[in-house]
């Protein structure tokens, strides 16, 4: 008898748990109460620094709007969900934010998670502005998916142009990981090299949570390349650079967004990372007035230096809030259309979305000098 009762109790609890969010959806659909926006990002696990930065950028934008009276007099409610960098958890969260009545989503910072969530969000008609940059995001062909930065193709094309065309360097080795981001970088950079008739002297693939790179680096050392391209996240890239210098490799490193972050710099050590070539749409906090203002506000609020990922999320959130304002707090397809129509002069550049959901198509080249990322003289 008792197990039956227990099962009944569980069923009732689950049923109650399901009905509550359903009613919440109707609440946010009407014209009163706060506008519910979800931030889905890794708040724990190896990719949590990305998630933390993105949350800060989004929070800063929302707080600024709320302080100025919100959107159409309604406050914006920003709630954070931890996907742990895991696509399975991501898909569960996609269902959760749908049933709890969130009208838009910021995140995630990990392409693989966003790609997994995309079909569900499309079905639920929840517009999503991601920080991912994998070309795979565009391949999902969702009208509800927008990127708050360029894709890997843009990053790596700019990088190859600088290294091969301008510096005339042809002796290039590649180390990429087999995760969502690393795979995208591998394909995009290899394509950029191939189109310039350059064959990398080494094309090494590592796993996403590898810790020892002796074998890979020693075989690269024998090839003695001028530049080593890194297609891996912040921490892993930092470890590769640190171990490479310990092995006596003096080649310069090159990479996209992760190689411009403080986490990469700290993990590698400033001295080891010296001379790293970075392709990024946001090189530093003092490029123009807007970035100075953003960096000051970021520093005041979170007591740490702003960087690319916070800036991307800030831009993405500004675009979403602007679209909410222009569309008079629309939801679903009209909101997605409003986002697509939004032209935004952001920290990363002038956003103008095309039908694939990409709004920025250029990056700049920076060099790490004296522990700081500075614009390269070209």
């Amino acid at each position: 008898m008792r197990p039956t009762l227990a099962v009944l109790a569980v069923v009732l609890a689950v049923a109650a748990g399901c009905s509550a969010p359903g009613s919440g959806k109707e609440e946010s659909g009407n014209d009163s109460g706060p506008i519910k926006i979800a931030v889905v990002d890794a708040q724990s696990g190896q990719l949590s620094s990305l998630g933390a930065w993105e949350l800060k950028g989004a929070r800063l934008a929302v707080d600024e709007w709320n302080a100025a009276g919100g959107v159409n007099g309604r406050q914006i409610q920003l709630d954070v969900f931890d996907d742990q960098g895991d696509p399975t958890i991501g898909t569960n969260l996609a269902r959760k934010i749908d049933s709890e009545g969130y009208i838009a989503m910021i995140g995630t910072a990990e392409s693989a998670v966003t790609i997994a969530m995309s079909p569900l969000l499309k079905q639920a008609e929840i517009p999503n502005i991601t920080s991912g940059q994998s070309p795979g995001l565009v391949a999902t062909k969702s009208d509800f998916l927008f990127l708050n930065g360029p894709t890997s193709t843009t990053y790596d094309e700019t990088l190859a142009k600088h290294i091969v065309d301008q510096q005339g360097i042809k002796s290039i080795a590649m180390i990429t990981n087999n995760g969502g981001y690393g795979k995208g970088e591998h394909d995009a950079f290899l394509k950029a090299l191939t189109s310039r008739n350059v064959t990398p002297v080494a094309d090494q693939v590592v796993t996403a949570d590898q810790k020892d790179f002796s074998a890979v680096l020693t075989s690269i050392r024998q090839k003695n390349p001028k530049v080593i391209f890194l297609g891996a996240e912040e921490v892993e890239s930092g470890l590769i650079v640190k171990q490479a210098r310990d092995l006596g490799i003096t080649s310069a490193f090159a990479g996209a967004a992760p190689q411009g972050t403080p986490v990469f710099l700290d993990t590698a050590g400033a001295k080891n990372a010296e001379g790293t070539i970075v392709s990024s749409p946001y090189l530093s906090n003092d490029i123009d007035e807007a970035s100075k203002k953003f960096a000051a506000a970021y520093k005041a609020k979170f007591n740490e230096e702003a960087e690319l990922h916070g800036a991307k999320a800030y831009d993405g959130t500004q675009i979403l809030l602007t679209a909410l304002k222009t569309s008079n707090v629309a939801t679903g397809k009209p909101l997605a259309d409003a986002i697509r129509a939004t032209k935004h002069d952001g920290l990363l550049g002038d956003f103008a979305f095309d039908e694939t959901g990409v709004g920025i198509f250029s990056t700049s080249i920076g060099i790490i000098k004296g522990g700081k990322l500075v614009a390269a003289e070209s």
Binding site: A52, K211, S214, A215, T218, S219
Partner: protein, 289 residues
């Protein structure tokens, strides 16, 4: 040849850390017959404590390590004390209890230190030693020396001291041990404390090699657990050999199988375990589970 030797060198330094993690697993297992699933999280706590005292309060690295080991050892005692009522009553619940502790520790780590992690600069900032083109980091030698010292001390403790011998007796037959007046609970507590201390040692040492984040212990925990199994679960020399073997195996598969290295490492591991289910040093002192 150079690649071959350099690969071994790279594998050995992480292997020594895996060995320390495996020692902690094995010590608790041989004494209680329990797999402490919170062990990986204790490694993370140790790494955070050591790096906090080293970076924030600017203590010398060795002193920071000692404080981390003491504090983490105390956490080990707490875990054992909470689980003690379950000893010999419900073994499954005890296992789940350690998983629960792991989750609690994970959450505490994120609450205290945040989710982002930190890089720890090497406490031995000298250039690597170069022997015929083979580069050996000085810090790796420090790690190896400390791991070797810890193992010797542990073996001496288990074989030469009264408390250690009592723990051995509990491991062999806990009912007989109780009959001759050995306090099983205290013996278990000591095992948990030393196990946690070893975890802190591993975590503290690996900090400057890797990156201290809440995810650190998960990766080390799995490799350390595999190392303990490979060497023969519960065996002290087995844990050392298993750790080094996993480290070197990992290093080689990374060079040859690239993106599939993890898969190959664990396939090889599975084959070895299938051929020799009790591991290299097939010692089965405990069979209470």
């Amino acid at each position: 040849m150079q690649v071959f030797l350099q690969t071994i060198v790279g594998g050995v330094s992480l292997g020594a850390v895996y060995a320390l993690v495996a020692l902690g697993f094995s010590l608790v297992y041989r004494t209680m017959g329990l797999v402490n699933f919170a062990h990986g999280n204790v490694v993370t706590v140790g790494a955070y404590l050591a790096s906090t005292f080293y970076l924030s309060t600017k203590l010398p690295f060795a002193l920071a390590m000692i404080i981390a080991i003491v504090v983490t050892g105390a956490i080990g005692l707490v875990i054992e004390r909470v689980l003690r009522p379950l000893e010999n009553k419900d073994f499954d619940l005890m296992l789940i209890g350690t998983i629960g502790f792991g989750i609690v520790l994970d959450a505490l780590i994120i609450m205290i230190w945040g989710a982002t992690g930190r890089a720890v600069p090497s406490p031995v900032p000298t250039a690597p030693i170069d022997i015929f083109g083979l580069r050996i980091r000085t810090y790796d030698l420090v790690v190896l020396a400390i791991a070797a010292l810890a193992t010797v001390l542990l073996v001496l403790f288990l074989s030469r001291t009264k408390r250690g011998t009592a723990m051995q007796a509990v491991a062999m037959d806990h009912e007989a041990a109780t009959a001759v007046g050995i306090h099983v609970g205290r013996s278990n507590a000591t095992a948990f404390m030393i196990g946690a201390g070893l975890a802190a040692l591993a975590g503290g040492l690996v900090g400057p090699l890797l990156y201290v984040s809440p995810a650190l212990g998960g990766a080390l925990g799995i490799k350390g657990f595999a190392a303990a199994i490979l060497g023969g679960f519960g065996s002290i020399p087995g844990a050392i050999l298993g750790g080094l073997a996993i480290g070197i195996l990992d290093s080689f598969t990374a060079g040859h199988f690239q993106g599939y290295s993890e898969l190959v490492t664990f396939l090889v591991f599975t084959v070895i375990i299938m051929v020799r289910p009790t591991g290299i040093f097939g010692e089965r002192t405990v069979n209470r589970a």
